[in-house]
């Protein structure tokens, strides 16, 4: 077991993948000499050279489009999109090509590409640097979408994503990059797409992923002081979404609140609410509640604490779901 920040865990994970498989490439803007604006690729350029760690032109569609071509040639590109808000120039290549090419070829070609996206708010950034666009990828068949919440998952899920023969959109919780945690570098990891119970409880289930898991664990701690037992499910994967684990929790607690930074409208919470209500209609003591962003552009930094789901907004939802 080693203590590692999430950023370091990702870096180590990329390094391991580059070492283990000569076909793995890292590419994106500033990922080379600079090591990425968040230093996730720090040192890789020095150690693996410009043939493996590639500074690209400033063109996201080009990055993903050429990554597809490299994958067709047998490579396994790990692509960095510098910030969440800059993935959209590549959206066409992701949705119309990356997601569909395996099916188009009736399975005859594979596209093992990971698209790393530092996402979410809370870092006091300017516009386009704080968004959570997971809905826009989860809705698209052919893509897998995951997001780790802690260092150990960051370490393992990245390697699993790189080993996966499907395109994986890998959302990195940028405001948690510097949070440290234990990484069991030699233990066998959980399945990439399994949700886990991060905190057991009996009264209410909180389901979250990425940066919001920490908030939910804080909520559970705060609620415990008030004598309420909250179960926190760390979803880890958004597509596929492990409904079985959520359902099992809900059948126990009877109450569910889904928390994410992305706007509530058409967010992950909607899909979970719809499906869990269908699966556990009689087990639910209250409607599934959702806490998330508003239907508004991500606000300027001085307002983001108001915009982002925090302890109090989640506790408020817990109160409301218990009040049924």
């Amino acid at each position: 077991m080693t203590q590692m920040a999430i950023a370091k865990a990702l870096n180590e994970s990329l390094r391991t993948s580059l070492e283990n498989d000569p076909k793995v490439l890292v590419m994106g803007e500033d990922v080379g000499r600079l090591g990425g604006v968040f230093r996730i690729t720090d040192g890789l350029f020095k150690d693996f050279g410009e043939g493996r760690v590639i500074d690209t032109p400033l063109a996201e569609s080009g990055i993903v489009g050429t990554a597809i071509g490299l994958a067709l040639r047998g490579y396994r590109p790990v692509v960095e999109i510098q910030f969440d808000g800059f993935v959209f120039p590549a959206y066409d290549q992701i949705v119309t090509q990356l997601a569909k090419m395996h099916a188009r070829a009736l399975g005859k070609i594979k596209l093992p590409i990971v698209i790393r996206i530092p996402y979410g708010g809370g870092i006091g950034a300017v516009e386009h640097h704080s968004e959570s666009p997971e809905t826009l990828f989860a809705h698209v068949a052919g893509l897998k979408v995951v997001s780790p919440s802690n260092a150990s998952d960051a370490y393992w899920m990245m390697q699993q994503a790189i080993e996966c023969d499907d395109p994986v959109i890998f959302f990195e919780p940028k405001r948690r990059y510097w949070d440290k945690g234990e990484v069991a570098v030699s233990s066998v990891p959980a399945d990439l797409h399994k949700a886990v119970v991060a905190q057991a409880g009996t009264d209410v289930t909180l389901a979250a992923f990425g940066p919001m898991v920490k908030v939910c664990l804080e909520v559970a701690a705060a609620a415990a002081n008030e004598g309420r037992s909250i179960e926190v499910v760390d979803l880890r994967s958004i597509s596929p979404l492990d409904f079985d684990t959520v359902q099992a929790s809900v059948e126990k607690t009877g109450r569910l609140v889904v928390v994410h930074e992305a706007p509530v409208f058409f967010g992950t919470g909607a899909e979970i609410a719809a499906r869990i209500t269908e699966r556990s209609f009689y087990a639910l003591e209250a409607p599934v509640l959702r806490v998330g962003g508003f239907h508004a552009p991500y606000p300027p930094a001085r307002l983001e604490e108001e915009y982002l789901p925090g302890l109090d907004r989640v506790l408020d939802a817990v109160d409301r779901v218990l009040a049924y």
Binding site: P57, G62, G69, R73
Partner: protein
């Protein structure tokens, strides 16, 4: 735009950008079928090769005509004809080596032919039984790409991989005059130049993007775009199969020898409709079409063969028979092409599986099975079976 701007545009187009009113155009065979020399591009072809090119073009055209007929008969949902572009496609396709990799649009039936892709395979997507579906690695011929311009980036990335592997191969990316406006194509030029990737960008300028003439995409010839990205561009007579062969060979060799990308603009003409759903009479004149009919790429090579006495009646008769056989094989093949199994929808969405797909597959199977148990008319007035 205003009159002013239109005038300015005309000046530019008629002016410095074209030499003597027409852009420079590499030609090795005149429309009358006479060989001409070109200082930079020359070619030696044996009579056998000439007849081979002729045969390729004739069979490709026949296949294309058969596909149009099959569409009219309802056997295909759509067809994108290559009529008029046979020289551009056969010439460039025959310039490739087996280890070169091809990224086509949706119209490269002639190129596919030169890569030994079974014509029947090309028809699957137009019939609606698959969205492509051949194995690209079998003939180093990628799937057809419908989203305009996308494939130029795939080609560039593939070529980056070729260079990385130290392989002695090249990649060729097809695209149209319309596609030249897409950001993806520009980005592919940038990536190819920056990484010195061994890729040939092959633009078939057939002068139309559905109803829009090339002036809606560029006010200068498209081959000129390459220079601004730092690699050579050349315009070739796209109806001259020899010139296309020579220029594409040189471009591929340029790429293979570590000199990086090159842009070839094959100046040709889409003699048919954009696709079988299109009605070109709405936007272009008969005269234009007729003018270009006189530059027909097949007639041109035939004139050459005949003038030089390189093919006899037996050759043409044999080719006719071969054409008929091909048409029949295609016709029968298409008609016999089964509809896919409904459950195929759930296959190959992912390589490594996905829980939701599994769940939906199971639910749908159960749903379908429910009709088998039930009496024929499952739902009062509904009753006409599943899947309305």
């Amino acid at each position: 735009m205003s009159v002013k701007s239109t005038a300015a545009r005309r000046t530019t187009r008629g002016g410095a950008k074209r030499r003597g009113g027409e852009p420079e155009l590499v030609q090795l065979l005149t429309p009358e079928g006479d060989r001409v020399e070109h200082s930079e591009y020359s070619i030696d072809v044996t009579p056998d090769e000439l007849r081979g090119l002729y045969r390729d073009m004739v069979l490709t055209r026949r296949f294309d005509a058969e596909a149009i007929t099959l569409q009219r008969q309802g056997e295909l949902g759509l067809w994108a004809s290559l009529l008029g572009q046979e020289a551009a496609q056969i010439g460039s396709g025959r310039a490739t080596r087996p280890d070169d990799y091809i990224f086509p649009t949706y119209r490269e039936h002639g190129v596919a032919w030169t890569r030994d892709v079974d014509p029947l395979n090309l028809l699957g997507m137009f019939r609606g039984v698959n969205n492509g579906g051949w194995d690209p690695n079998e003939n180093n011929f990628h799937l057809y790409t419908i989203v305009i311009g996308s494939q130029t980036l795939h080609a560039t990335g593939y070529a980056m991989g070729v260079a990385k592997d130290g392989a002695d191969a090249a990649v060729i990316a097809y695209f149209g005059d319309g596609a030249s406006s897409q950001g993806d194509v520009a980005e592919s030029f940038t990536f190819a130049a920056v990484y010195n990737a061994p890729v040939v960008f092959f633009c078939q300028n057939n002068q139309w993007a559905i109803s829009e003439p090339t002036e809606k995409q560029s006010r200068v010839p498209i081959y000129q775009r390459a220079a601004g990205y730092g690699f050579p561009g050349v315009r070739v007579d796209g109806n001259d199969v020899l010139a296309v062969l020579a220029v594409t060979r040189a471009a591929l060799e340029h790429a293979r020898s570590g000199q990086g990308p090159m842009l070839v603009e094959a100046f040709t003409y889409r003699m048919g409709a954009h696709t079988t759903t299109d009605d070109p009479t709405r936007y272009r004149s008969d005269e234009e079409r007729e003018e270009w009919a006189s530059k027909d790429p097949i007639a041109r090579l035939r004139a050459h063969l005949d003038k030089q006495g390189l093919a006899d009646e037996g050759f043409y008769a044999g080719l006719d028979a071969e054409s008929d056989a091909l048409a029949k094989r295609v016709r029968d093949g298409v008609r016999g092409m089964p509809n896919p199994d409904p459950m195929a929808m759930f296959e190959n969405v992912y390589a490594d599986g996905h829980a939701l797909v599994d769940e939906e597959r199971a639910q749908f199977a159960e749903y379908l099975a429910s009709f088998e148990d039930a009496p024929a008319a499952s739902h009062g007035a509904a009753g006409s079976g599943k899947g309305h």
